[in-house]
Amino acid sequence: MNFRSSVEIITEWDIVAARQLGRNEAKKAGFGTVDQARITTAISELARNIYLYAGKGKIEIERVSEGGLFGIKIIASDEGPGIPDLRKVMEDGFSTSGGLGAGMPGVKRLMDEFKVTSEPGAGTIITSTKWLH
C-alpha cells in the first residue's frame, strides 16, 4: 500500500502544517530543494483556498508510482460551496490573479498534473501530481 497522510485545514496554522508535511514528503521522495519549494507552494495555495473559501477541508499527500515513475500526489478536498463555473476557473486567470501567478492556474504550473471536480453545494476535490524526473 502507498504511504498516505493528511492534515485537516481549519485554521491558518493548518496551512503551515500542511506545507511542512508536504515539504518533508517531497524531500523523502527525493525531490531537490526547488521542487520541494514548488510542491510546498502548491500545497500552500490549495490549503489557503480551502481556508478562505470553503472554511474547512483536508489536504492529503500520497506517494505514487506509475510505469517506473515516482511522484507525489496532493489531494485537496472540501465540502464547501463548490465552483460554479469550472471553465472559468481553469482558464489562465491573468487579470483575476492581478499578476500574482497564484490560484488554480498557478498550482497547475507548479505541478505536472492537475484535475478538479466540483459539485455546486457539495464541495470540490482537486488532485495534483508532480513526478520525479
Binding site: 506545507r19 507552494t41 500552500s44 471553465r87 491573468f94 487579470s95 499578476g99
Partner: protein
C-alpha cells in the same frame, strides 16, 4: 524600495535563520506576493536580501557579497520580463474590453426576431466556442411563412463575425416575392461571392415553413443535413439538398426540396459544432443526436434544443471545440 519592506524582510529572514521553521517560510512567501503586487523586481529582492544578510551577519566572507552582486546582474533581465508582463496584462485587459463591446454590438446588430405563425413552435440555441460566435441564425418572417437561415462561417472569432452582417443585411433586402429557399441562397451567394475573398466560405441551410399547406421547403449551401422526425412512423430521416458553399461561384445553383409536416413532427437544423462534437472517445455520431432528440420529442421546441445542448456540452467537459447551433421547427396542432 521602501525602507519598511527591507526591515520586514530582514526580520522574517532572521527568524528563519534562527528557527528554520516552515511558518517563517509561509510568512516570507506571502510577503513575496506583496513584492510582486508592488512591482518590485527580482533584482531588488536580491539587493534587499544582501542588505539584510549583511546586517545580520556582517562578518561573512567577501565571496558572499560579491556572489550576490553577480546574482543581481543575472536578475536584471528577469526584472525586465516581469515589467513587460505587467504592461502586457494591461494591453490584454484593453483588448478584452474591446472584445466585450464588440460582442455586445454584434448581438444588437445581428439580432433576429423569433417567428410566430400558427401551428409552428420554434426553439433555438447558439453558443460560441470563443468570445464571438461564427454560427448565425436569422429568421425571416412573412405572412403565413417562417424562414430561417442557419449559417456557419468557416473560421471563428472576429473575421467570422464581420461576415455575418452580410447575411443579415442581404436577407433584410430580399424582395417579398423572392423568398423560396433556392432563391434566397442564390441571392446571398452572389453577395458573399462579391464581398469576400477566396479564403472565406460560408455554409448555410435555409428552411421555410409555409403555414397554409404545412410544408417545409429547404435548400442547402454545403451545410450539414437537417433531421426530420416523423412522429407517425417514429423515425428520423436526413434532409439534404445539393448546393455549393456560399462564396465559391457566383452562379451556383441550389436544389430545393420539401416535406410535409404533421402534428408532432419536427425539423432539427444544426451546424457541424453539433454533429461533430468531439469527446474524449472521438466524435459523436448521428445516432446519439437522434437518441437525444427522441428522448424529448414531446417537449417544446426550445426544450428540445436545450436538451441536446446540455448533453453534448457535458460530453465536451464544458469546453466547446466549435460554435454550437441548433434550431427546432416543430409542428403543433393549430389552436383555433
Amino acid at each position: 524600495m521602501p525602507q519598511e519592506v527591507a526591515r520586514q524582510y530582514k526580520e522574517i529572514m532572521k527568524k528563519y535563520l534562527e528557527s528554520h521553521s516552515e511558518e517563517d517560510l509561509y510568512v516570507g512567501q506571502q510577503f513575496s506576493r506583496r513584492f510582486i503586487e508592488k512591482e518590485i523586481a527580482p533584482e531588488d529582492v536580491i539587493s534587499v536580501h544582501k542588505t539584510a544578510l549583511s546586517e545580520l551577519h556582517p562578518d561573512l566572507r567577501n565571496e558572499v557579497w560579491d556572489s550576490l552582486d553577480f546574482l543581481i546582474e543575472m536578475m536584471i533581465h528577469y526584472g525586465l520580463t516581469m515589467r513587460e508582463h505587467q504592461s502586457l496584462i494591461r494591453k490584454q485587459e484593453a483588448i478584452q474590453m474591446e472584445m466585450d463591446v464588440a460582442t455586445k454590438v454584434q448581438d444588437t446588430l445581428l439580432k433576429t426576431k423569433m417567428p410566430c405563425v400558427g401551428g409552428l413552435d420554434v426553439g433555438f440555441i447558439s453558443k460560441p466556442a470563443k468570445e464571438m460566435n461564427g454560427d448565425y441564425v436569422y429568421f425571416l418572417n412573412k405572412e403565413h411563412e417562417s424562414g430561417v437561415a442557419v449559417a456557419d462561417v468557416i473560421g471563428k472569432g472576429i473575421p467570422a463575425a464581420l461576415c455575418m452582417s452580410m447575411i443579415k443585411f442581404g436577407m433584410d433586402g430580399l424582395p417579398d416575392e423572392n423568398t423560396s429557399p433556392r432563391n434566397v441562397l442564390g441571392i446571398i451567394n452572389r453577395i458573399v461571392e462579391k464581398s469576400v475573398d477566396d479564403s472565406m466560405f460560408i455554409s448555410m441551410f435555409y428552411g421555410k415553413y409555409n403555414a397554409e399547406d404545412t410544408t417545409f421547403s429547404y435548400a442547402s449551401a454545403g451545410h450539414e443535413p437537417a433531421l426530420h422526425f416523423d412522429s407517425g412512423k417514429d423515425v428520423f430521416s436526413e434532409l439534404d439538398a445539393k448546393g455549393l458553399l456560399l462564396g465559391v461561384k457566383s452562379d451556383a445553383e441550389y436544389e430545393e426540396r420539401s416535406v410535409v409536416l404533421n402534428d408532432g413532427d419536427f425539423i432539427a437544423m444544426m451546424t457541424d459544432g453539433v454533429t461533430e462534437t468531439r469527446t474524449e472517445d472521438g466524435f459523436v455520431d448521428m445516432k446519439t443526436i437522434q437518441n437525444l432528440l427522441h428522448e424529448v420529442k414531446d417537449m417544446t421546441a426550445q426544450q428540445i434544443a436545450e436538451h441536446v445542448y446540455q448533453h453534448l456540452s457535458d460530453l465536451q467537459n464544458y469546453r466547446l471545440s466549435d460554435d454550437f447551433t441548433i434550431v427546432i421547427f416543430k409542428k403543433e396542432p393549430e389552436q383555433v
